[in-house]
Symmetry: C2
Subunit: 148 residues, 2 copies
């Protein structure tokens, strides 16, 4: 998400473009694989915008969620995390996670995994799937080596 587009996007909706909002956006779109908690976002944004308050971070997160700029993710480590949403042409996001049960590292991967399954469910149950979230648990290369 580039800053031009973001500014445009907020203005269209009558929302104001503030340093705090830009700061949170930059942190979240900064590192590719950042799955940050609210507190972590706060700590990073504060480096550049020391005046920001934690409440603003929470309010900004709520806003970004409503605007579908970010997704909430739950990696079962007891924290609520957030990451930028990446959408494909159809407005679906296919960003999934490989979670190592041993070291806890999280690897991301994209792709539309479940097309055939989704068709099957529509046929069988009449439930129309428009998005999905997949988490895979296992052991990464590194940890497998250490287990030998």
């Amino acid at each position: 998400m580039d800053r031009e587009y973001f500014t445009q996007f907020l203005r269209e909706k009558g929302l104001k473009v503030t340093n705090q909002r830009i700061g949170v956006l930059e942190v979240l779109s900064g590192s590719e694989d950042s799955h940050l908690t609210a507190e972590e976002i706060y700590d990073v944004v504060r480096v550049r915008y020391p005046e920001i308050g934690l409440a603003t971070v929470y309010r900004t997160i709520q806003l970004f969620l409503r605007l579908h700029l970010i997704d909430q993710i739950n990696l079962d480590d007891g924290c609520v995390r957030y990451e930028m949403r990446t959408e494909d042409a159809g407005g679906r996001h296919h960003h999934h996670h490989l979670i190592c049960l041993s070291c806890g590292k999280v690897f991301s991967f994209d792709g539309d995994l479940l097309e055939t399954l989704e068709e099957y469910i529509l046929d069988r149950d009449g439930f129309q799937v428009v998005d999905h979230k997949v988490q895979l648990y296992g052991y990464c290369k590194e940890c497998q080596k250490n287990m030998e």
Copy 2:
């Protein structure tokens, strides 16, 4: 999970079989599709065991999670929920969720969805998947009718 097995299971591990633990077990294995929060479990258990405290419910949940009797699930409604784990022969659980974006109802389904994908990931990344969690978002039959 039946009570005989549960009693046996706890005793083997040197854990005590208390009314509170039985109560929480009964609530969670009671209704097939119960995705309950800690508070909800507390409220239901209290009907039969009014003496139970909320702290005990939390401690029991932590215990059951450690014993892999239950799973934590996150349906993106801002609550942490729990449900009984159902395992197949290989010790994997394949219990997934269809979440209606309109009415919020949750439908469960079982099945091993991702076998081929998991093989592919092992080949490509060397990451060995042992379990997965899938959430599908969309619109249930009922809500589709109401949209017409």
